[in-house]
Amino acid sequence: MTSNLPDPMIPTPFVVHRVKRETSDTYTLDLKGPEAAANFAFAPGQFNMLYAFGAGEAPISISGDPARPETLVHTVRDVGNVTRAICRLKKGERLGVRGPFGAPWPVAQLAGQDVLIIAGGLGLAPLRPALYHLLNHREEYGNVEVIYGARTPKDLLYPKELERWRGRFDLRVHITVDASEGDWRGSVGVVTKIIARARFDPPSTAALVCGPGVMMRFTVQELMSRGLKPEQIYVSMERNMKCGVGLCGHCQWGPFFVCKDGPVFRYDRVRDWFERREV
């Protein structure tokens, strides 16, 4: 999908409509565009370059509902100068947007299959649009299972939405944390362990995986040990995207530009590069 905006290299100013604190260092921003970009069409898994004026640009996955393009939603973790500037924006302030960029989750192709959505930490943000799509077209898919792991209960993104999803009869949600104190009544253990609880028919299943590299590596191994083939697994990679259109080479990963060929890759295409330490 090509950019919605006039020139992919020129940021369009968007206004911060709402800021919601998700965790101690992660915020979700709802943005409204100018009239020309009021309906910001995107596909699940794509990202935008967000420009905090005076600080710089950062690639951030779109985490909103693709069926509601009037609001552009991003979940941002404060991990550096640019993301800190984005997280500190207040309602009514502006930031620049370029995008959407990148290859999306192939949700339309997965019709008729069981779908596993496996997220670790902030990885739920780029997967949320895919889940919205599946839920908006629920009758087209088989069993849908969400498996989500985080460090502690306080680090879980979208807790109210997770609760709502858990209450649905057409979706199974498995949540686990690495450690907990206090009144957490859910699972404690790594996300790979929870995969055993998911119900799916391996030959007719696709898995969409996003999270830290270590988590994805072990998740892929676990999925394959449970009968999924590499071509049934999709991963979203994170690299230092800069131009967003495959020109600058900042995000080169072996023969791929993550901004243009990814960030979503079918695992069999990137398998040889997935665990290489030099790239």
């Binding site: 460090r151 686990t176 009544r185 699972s187 253990g189 790979t192 362990k193 055993a196 999270g211 270590v214």
Partner: protein, 150 residues
């Protein structure tokens, strides 16, 4: 005792165990039930039982002074609790608390060890399963230590 055999046979740890060995396991087995909040074991207590969980959820905890218990793992249907009884002295190193109504088959450790000594083929079969479980646990622990979401 008869009703425990199908439960054990369906449990991942004992899956595909030869019927004659399953009978030996059943001779050391009894059913137990734990109410929510009830402790299955406490740190430093003598470890006399090995719990095969077939219903419910159990929190495995470490107690820290000032901060209280920290849950490091939860166990549920198809999992087991109590692996250190192969290692003398047989003492628990963790607390385990039922988070909900939990049903287990508890195996008498001394009884199992005696049967393993009497029948080394049986002992070897159990040891293979024990080693596999330890390898899985080891892998999970490494992932937890890696703090992947950090």
């Amino acid at each position: 005792m008869d009703t425990m055999e199908p439960i054990l046979a369906a449990h991942p740890f004992f899956k595909d165990l030869a019927p004659r060995y399953l009978k030996l396991v059943c001779e050391c087995a009894s059913r137990e039930q734990f109410a929510p909040g009830q402790m299955l074991c406490r740190d430093e207590e003598e470890a006399r039982k090995f719990y095969v969980i077939y219903h419910g959820q159990v929190a495995v905890e470490i107690y820290r002074a000032r901060r209280g218990p920290v849950t490091i793992q939860t166990l549920g249907d198809g999992e087991a609790l109590g692996w250190l009884w192969w290692q003398q002295p047989y003492h628990w190193h963790l607390d385990a608390r039922a988070l909900q109504l939990t049903r287990v088959i508890s195996l008498d450790v001394q009884c199992l060890l005696t049967k393993c000594d009497q029948d080394h083929d049986f002992g070897y079969e159990l040891m293979k399963r024990y080693a596999h479980h330890l390898a899985v646990q080891f892998r999970v622990t490494k992932l937890q230590l890696a703090d992947m979401y950090g």
